[in-house]
């Protein structure tokens, strides 16, 4: 599996430049904002997912999965390594976001560090949910159709939030913040572990049966 993880890291390496440019851009944007609610540090986990999905399209373009299936333990490890590398990159980008949030709150003074952190936690969990749903689709239908799924899920989520806030007349973002404390957080962690596990086994099942 180590070899396959390395391969994905080499692929991501090609995009690190863009990742860093984006990060810098959002960092500067955040510095010029007045409200912490619109702080953009929580965009980084999403960016990571987008980069991961792009590795799928590169893989497909050269029929890598077909080749990988004929490597020792290929079928077993391709799925495992994709989930592992996604975990690693998500953790890394989260750490980077925390670091940036820390800097921003220090520079700006009036920004609440904990509030920014709550947004970040929210975005990380959103990413975990998205990954869990998208990956089985990516393994089953490929990145082209996978993108459609991402689009559908994100627009449905945004739609739901907008609708909810219209109906209940409360500020959803601040509700999220309050959820993310105490038992809410614990519940989220359990839910995401459960989702990612189920997702992994579905993907594995899809991939072991897949024909290329």
């Amino acid at each position: 599996m180590k070899g396959l993880i390395k391969k994905d890291i080499f692929m991501l390496k090609n995009n690190t430049r863009y990742f860093l440019i984006f990060t810098l851009f959002y960092f500067l944007v955040s510095l010029n904002q007045t409200e912490p609610g619109s702080s953009t540090t929580f965009i980084l986990p999403f960016l990571t997912i987008v980069m991961m999905i792009s590795t799928f399209s590169y893989d497909e373009f050269n029929n890598w999965f077909s080749y990988a299936a004929a490597l020792p333990n290929g079928r077993k490890n391709v799925v495992k390594s994709k989930y592992a590398i996604t975990g690693i990159t998500t953790v890394l980008s989260t750490l980077l976001s925390i670091f940036l949030a820390f800097i921003i709150s220090n520079i700006k003074g009036n920004f609440s560090y904990s509030e920014m952190l709550s947004y970040l936690i929210g975005s990380v969990f959103a990413c975990i949910f998205m990954t869990s749903i998208i990956y089985p689709f990516l393994f089953k239908y490929g990145s082209e159709k996978g993108r459609l799924v991402i689009f559908a899920i994100s627009s449905m989520t945004v739609g739901a939030i907008v609708l909810l806030s219209k109906i209940s007349n409360i500020k959803i973002p601040s509700r999220i913040v309050s959820i993310l404390t105490g038992y809410g957080l614990l519940l989220l962690i359990i839910a995401s572990v459960l989702m990612i596990t189920i997702s992994y086994f579905i993907s594995k099942k899809i991939f072991t049966k897949k024909e290329f």
Partner: protein, 284 residues
């Protein structure tokens, strides 16, 4: 001679109607087996079935390889149009493969790269088609496999490079335990180096013989209509009527040339054989 691969009653049925098999095939250890047939005949499907890239509908494929736990450790592959993503470099491939194959030999890999004049630090997408194939071949050999399974390994290569590649295959064959199964539509490659020919037509194996037996026994009898009428039906395997002559595929050309006085019988090439069996007619 023992067999490295034994295929029994292999069938692969596709939803679009294409059907491979039923195929029974044995690949003997220690020789080069060439798979020929027109595009779409089922060569790639057969190779992918052997490599477990696709799952057969019916039948069994057995590989007798020492490492039973993961037999693919000992198999080197070149697939038609499937490889590492092209944004990677040969160096990246080396680094990754080190942890994929137990026996990956970086030194050997770089030796092949040098021989092929491939730069390790450049992205694959900057390479020409021939360079890519050479890189794929280098990759297939660098973990000291015992069996090479190659789908169209020489396509896209110019004659000089093809010659180099065939040399590498023959070098690989210096070990008596080594076996190559390769598919190709460039039949002249096989005329030189293959020991055995497996001919696939419409998903079925229509001919499976030692190459010498084909080249030394089969012949093309060329004649006119009048002569053609005199040939006994059982002597005609396939025939093709052309504007000025009729070409007849015959077996046992020495016997035939004695049987039919004044007959003109040409030596056969694998290409002739392919064309006559695909485009020609049978008498039935």
């Amino acid at each position: 001679m023992n067999n490295i691969i034994e295929i029994k009653n292999l069938v692969k049925q596709y939803e679009d109607g294409f059907k491979l098999g039923p195929i029974d095939l044995e690949i003997p250890r220690g020789i080069i087996v060439g798979l020929i047939g027109e595009n779409g005949a089922g060569k790639t499907t057969l190779i992918k079935s052997i490599l477990n890239i696709i799952t057969p509908t019916e039948g069994t494929i057995e590989m007798s390889i020492d490492d039973q736990e993961s037999p693919l450790e000992e198999v080197g592959i070149v697939l038609d149009n499937a490889f590492f993503p092209e944004i990677l470099t040969p160096k990246d491939i080396d680094e990754s493969m080190k942890d994929i194959f137990k026996n990956w030999d970086s030194e050997l890999f770089y030796k092949y790269l040098r021989n092929f004049k491939i730069e390790g630090g450049k992205q694959i997408r900057t390479f020409s088609k021939g360079m890519r194939k050479k890189l794929e071949i280098a990759t297939s050999l660098a973990h000291h496999p015992k069996l090479l399974i190659l789908d169209e390994p020489t396509s896209g290569l110019d004659p000089v490079v093809r010659d180099e590649v065939l040399d590498i295959f023959l070098e690989f064959m210096q070990d008596e335990e080594h076996t190559i199964l390769l598919s190709t539509h460039i039949t002249s490659d096989l005329e030189h180096i293959a020991d055995r020919i497996v001919f696939i037509k419409d998903g079925k194996v229509t001919l499976e013989k030692d190459k010498d037996e084909i080249l030394d026994n089969y012949g093309i009898l060329k004649c006119d209509e009048e002569f053609f009428k005199k040939i006994e039906k059982e002597d005609i395997l396939f025939y093709k009527k052309e504007k000025y002559e009729i070409k007849v595929l015959v077996e046992n050309k020495n016997k035939i040339s004695k049987k039919y006085k004044n007959s003109i019988i040409d030596k056969i090439t694998l290409e002739d054989l392919m064309i006559l069996t695909i485009k020609g007619d049978e008498i039935r």
